[in-house]
């Protein structure tokens, strides 16, 4: 007679160890996927940061490439023969811009290295570069160790270093190898074949293969590093990219008319080299790698791996100093610490807890939380 029925209580899941939501008995849903929205909104409000460094000899088109990548005149590209004298020593200079697209704000910092490899004796020319990179790590570390920290520590660490290989067509030069060996341990490096319009397609392939062999022989791990692939999807994706590294790129900041279309390119007597044309050069691949798909990944690896290596190195090295009161250890970093690369470690990402890194295990392992 009572039209209202009472149903039995929601049945327990068949596996009592991990209760889950019961689709059959579930009425409505909790709505936790909205956490993603919340995250996204927060990220859009705070904006993103990205720091990129371009390294290579003068005249390889670094400034032009940066302008092409970000479709802005980040720098005035230096043209040959305009009387610009070559800097005597390697000087780094950075420029920061805030660009916005579709509501997403990006604070972009580009660091250039004019004068790299231009001298007669290029010994130790990588030291200012390493010094700069480590200085940024140091700055972040100091901020992190403060007693009252900022809510959002400004991130000036170099997330990606694009290395321009001159298109000799043979193989990597000793200078390239020396620098790459040191850089790869400190920062994410993406090598590119600069000014690829001086090589034909076949020559490019041969050059590329030789470079890949060189990299393998000298154990240089460029981005995307094989050891950081998280799962099968990543591995597949990244191995496709690794097959094509180094990308053969051409940069241009002028537009020309081709078949009625307006394209970015370089115009020569025998044709127009279109920058966005995949048949002509691999610039779109570079741009997509750096910006459209792997930007966050670059930042994560910098933060979780390279920065952590630096931090561990600094904390460990400081034990040489006498103990004393206070909180923060760090004695000022010696110049030697700043410029020498750290020993190669197979460090993995935070979630990959199956393997132990050498010498980094905690003295008191924590019991896992229930």
């Amino acid at each position: 007679m009572d039209p209202l029925k009472r149903s039995p209580p929601p049945c327990p899941s068949p596996r009592p160890s991990s209760p889950r939501t019961q689709p059959c008995e579930m009425l409505g849903h909790v709505g936790i996927e909205t956490v993603l929205d919340q995250l996204k909104i927060k990220a859009m409000k705070t904006g993103f940061e990205f720091n990129i460094m371009v390294v290579g000899q003068t005249g390889l088109g670094k400034s032009t490439m940066v302008n092409t990548l970000f479709r802005s005149k980040v720098w005035k590209s230096t043209h040959p023969g305009t009387g610009v004298s070559m800097p005597q020593t390697l000087q780094l200079h950075s420029e920061t811009h805030v660009i916005e697209e579709k509501g997403v704000k990006l604070k972009l910092t580009v660091t250039d290295t004019p004068g790299f490899g231009d001298q007669i004796n290029n010994d130790k020319c990588w030291e200012p570069i390493l010094g700069y990179i480590n200085e940024q790590y140091e700055r972040y570390l100091q901020e992190e160790l403060l007693i009252t920290r900022q809510r959002h520590i400004p991130d000036t660490r170099v997330h990606c270093c694009v290395y321009f290989v001159p298109p000799t067509g043979h193989c990597l030069r000793p200078l390239d190898i020396e620098l790459l060996q040191r850089l790869c341990r400190t920062v994410n490096v993406v090598p590119v074949i600069a000014r690829a319009d001086s090589l034909t397609i076949e020559e490019r392939e041969v050059f590329r293969n030789r470079i890949q062999q060189n990299l393998k022989t000298h154990c240089i791990e460029v981005y995307p590093q094989k050891c950081f692939d998280e799962d099968i999807n990543d591995r597949i994706l990244n191995s496709k990219i690794r097959d094509r590294i180094p990308f053969a790129v051409v940069g241009a900041d002028r537009e020309h008319l081709v078949d009625g279309r307006c394209v970015l390119g370089r115009k020569t007597k025998w044709g127009v080299i279109e920058v966005e044309n995949m048949a002509h050069c691999e610039f779109p691949l570079l741009r997509d790698l750096l910006i459209r798909s792997h930007l966050q990944d670059l930042k994560d690896i910098t933060h979780n791996v390279h920065y952590e290596n630096y931090r561990v190195g600094r904390l460990n090295a400081s034990h040489l100093l006498p103990r004393g009161p206070g909180w923060v250890n760090l004695a000022p970093a010696t110049p030697e610490q700043l410029t020498s690369p750290r020993p190669l470690r197979a460090c993995r990402r935070p979630h990959d807890d199956s393997e132990e890194e050498s010498g980094l295990s905690m003295a008191n392992p924590r019991p896992a939380s229930s």
């Binding site: 927060k42 990006l106 100091q142 923060v328 939380s369």
Partner: protein, 502 residues
Amino acid sequence: MDRSLGWQGNSVPEDRTEAGIKRFLEDTTDDGELNKFVKDFPGNESCHPPEAKTRVSRPQIPEPRAETPDLYDDDLEFRPPSWSQSSDSQQYFCAPAPLSPSARPRSPWGKLDPYDSSEDDKEYVGFATLPNQVHRKSVKKGFDFTLMVAGESGLGKSTLVNSLFLTDLYRDRKLLSAEERIMQTVEITKHAVDIEEKGVRLRLTIVDTPGFGDAVNNTECWKPVAEYIDQQFEQYFRDESGLNRKNIQDNRVHCCLYFISPFGHGLRPLDVEFMKALHQRVNIVPILAKADTLTPLEVDRKKRRIREEIERFGIKIYQFPDCDSDEDEDFKLQDQALKESIPFAVIGSNTVVEVRGRRVRGRLYPWGIVEVENPGHCDFVKLRTMLVRTHMQDLKDVTRETHYENYRAQCIQSMTRLVVKERNRKYDQKPGQSWQGGSQAQLWVRPSPSLVLLQALSSIQVGPGVLLALPIPLSPSPQQTDSREWYRLPHPCCPTRDRSRN
């Protein structure tokens, strides 16, 4: 789109043919999935980018999201039927194998790609996919949330938790008899459950406080709770300062639901003491429990009274962030309504009843049926929306940026004070002289957590990288003020700095 530096690019739509794509496909190395991929490529797919939202997400999600298939599907085959509801999980970034001169590298973001077409390649740099990149990583990692429920026995805490997260956490619970309760002390128990919805995983940890307020003499019964919270902070602090930061477990309590009994006249002394002890450590959300024993008028009166008392006693409960000024009126009203519903009058239920043909969670009485999810009956929906759908991230942020930072700062300061004292004591004492009894006693009278931490820290570090001079805190960076700045404890070294929301 406005940018600080920009091109004046003209873009002309490209003529992209299927034939062109197929021709170039033959040239490349055989890539099975790629072929299939391109065969299903219907030309220029029109993507519907979600408009960049600059507001706190609303309780009602404006656009229904398609079912996000499992991201970790090892099946690489491209599924044509689901093209219409494609999401970033299904499309792999196949660009590195170049197809045709004009084929735009296939975006991995699919429908969520904010760039509509290949013309955008000409005009845009392409970093508006950044939120999607972050999104993808978060989905892979999953989220975690720790919720504490506190209050006397019998106020419906377990039932409410079950109703909120649609789980059955307390199925095997045995209620203690009266005799057993006499001997019971306050414990802290943890239950963890993994919830997955639409591809998003949440690891929810519920911290319960059985025995709270149940004894005859309840003096300082909040102490175990406060100590637990501090312990979690301490553990996180230790991990964060250690050498190996790869697998830090974050057990910090993000939110505490405090249950107020509906039978009293507002807050009782125990409630006040508890909240005052904890408001600097955790986000407190007061709840008016078992609200089905009250009429709407009574609920209103009680809420007002509790709000007054909270203010009078200076209890700092969790404050909702203010709306942006560019939100619409409707949203602002909603936000206002939310703020005025504190404390939330909730009803929980483990049973399902049938009402007007629908099955709902509710409580069956002879005089009617109370529906848990009916906004007219109680504030359950508001609470759930606030806790899960709109403010979960904010709760975590406030815990991380305010409560934890306060704890850390205090911890470091007391550590340095102790160590300075210790050092001074050593320097003061000359050989042959007797101890400065007073200072030593002062130093060792109570092993505070910070001293323990100091010792723990020095024992943990592999090459004990210990401690030198106190750094001079940098001058506060100019940031906009948050209206919740009263959260910040005064810093002895430098004056209260505005912790802002960027």
